[in-house]
């Protein structure tokens, strides 16, 4: 681990790949967020076990026009995890 050296005057922040999420002003996807949080609490904060819930949340966002519709593969979700959900 090294701290900021002489040459690293800039922060190591990079722009996000798909830009910024538009704000969910109407809290349309709040239930999915709560479900995801509960799953995390149950599984001791292991994100690997809560991928379905995160997928649900992103799906909600896409359907409510809060996120550009993307192929699940491009978001890192493989076919195995799709389960009962269909690909949009």
């Amino acid at each position: 681990m090294s701290s900021l050296s002489t040459f690293s005057s800039r922060s190591n922040a990079k722009p996000p790949q798909k830009g910024s999420f538009p704000l969910d002003h109407d809290n349309e996807c709040k239930e999915f967020m709560i479900k995801y949080m509960q799953c995390l609490r149950v599984n001791k904060k292991d994100a690997h076990l809560c991928r379905l819930e995160s997928k649900d949340y992103l799906n909600c966002r896409m359907q409510n026009n809060l996120m550009l519709k993307e192929d699940w593969k491009k978001l890192g979700f493989t076919d195995k995890e799709s389960g009962k959900k269909e690909n949009p």
Binding site: S8, A13, S20, F21, H25, H48, N65, K74
Partner: protein, 296 residues
């Protein structure tokens, strides 16, 4: 004959020095009377002959007395030498000095201009250098979007700790929904922050983030988040802000990060005001988020 040659050399040398002294002295005394060429010959001759006779008599009198025949030719030789020295030495020296001064000045001015030009040219050159070598963090590693499809999870659990900060003048309540998440490199993960505007006025915020340790920052890629764009919160409004990210699988191969198992993701919100300058990374194009529409 050897003796006459010796005598010639001695006398010529002395006369050279004496001629220079004579000319300088005479020029200093009455510069207007003498031009560089027009030194009265009669006066010069007399003085030279006097000095010549003095010197030659003192040093080589023995030799002269011995060989009579070398007197006249020697004298003419010495005279011509002295004349040439008298005529050309002051001019030659001042000319030389002037020329050398000129060339020196030209060199100095050229060096000055070169340095100045180098200082101006350094800005774009340094940019190119930094992009080529990646020094100073300016060469941002391009996101390989196709990598997200093909990357495989590495079995090395990393703890990502979430931190939320607010600028001192910013009146939002901003906090993470979860303190930490365990994630594997190569797997995408979701995390939430919550922001609330407790005031009666709408406040526009803009955020930036930082990843610690610094070396781990280059492996931390975000697919989508809420940073670097203005976010508006109406009065008394509370929203959830997600961050969708993944850690590059190459994280596991970096020797510097062998002992690193905790990464801290720290967000800071600022109030978006005119003249606010955030250290934003190189955004190539402005991003237009999809307009939220009410689905009926």
């Amino acid at each position: 004959m050897a003796l006459t040659l010796l005598c010639q050399r001695h006398c010529a040398a002395f006369l050279r020095s004496s001629a220079i002294k004579q000319t300088y002295f005479t020029q200093l005394a009455a510069p207007k009377l003498f031009s560089t060429y027009g030194i009265p010959k009669a006066r010069k001759k007399i003085s030279i002959s006097k000095s010549f006779s003095k010197v030659c008599n003192s040093t080589t009198s023995v030799y002269f007395l011995k060989s009579n025949r070398c007197n006249f030719p020697m004298l003419t030789i010495i005279r011509t030498i002295s004349r040439t020295h008298v005529r050309f030495s002051p001019n030659r020296n001042s000319g030389r000095l002037q020329d050398s001064n000129k060339t020196g000045l030209i060199y100095i001015v050229a060096v000055f201009i070169f340095m100045l030009g180098g200082a101006y040219a350094g800005v774009p050159l340094y940019k190119v250098f930094c992009q080529a070598t990646g020094l100073g963090g300016q060469a941002v590693r391009g996101h390989d979007t196709s990598q997200v499809e093909t990357m495989k999870a590495v079995d090395r659990p990393i703890r990502v700790i979430f931190n939320a900060d607010v600028a001192s003048s910013m009146r939002w309540n901003f906090r993470p929904q979860q303190t930490e998440v365990t994630v594997r490199p190569g797997e995408t993960a979701l995390a939430f922050y919550t922001a609330k505007n407790p005031t009666d006025k709408p406040i526009i915020g803009i955020s930036t983030y930082n990843v610690l340790p610094y070396d781990a920052g280059q492996y931390f890629n975000k697919i989508q988040c809420f940073c670097f764009e203005e976010q508006r919160l109406n009065p008394k409004e509370e929203v959830d802000m997600p961050v969708f990210f993944y850690i590059d699988p190459e994280f596991a191969q970096d020797p510097k990060l062998e002992a690193v198992n905790n990464i801290t993701l720290s967000y800071t919100f600022f109030e978006a005001r005119d003249g606010l300058q955030l250290p934003l990374p190189g955004y190539p194009q402005p991003h237009d988020p999809p307009q939220p529409q009410q689905s009926s």
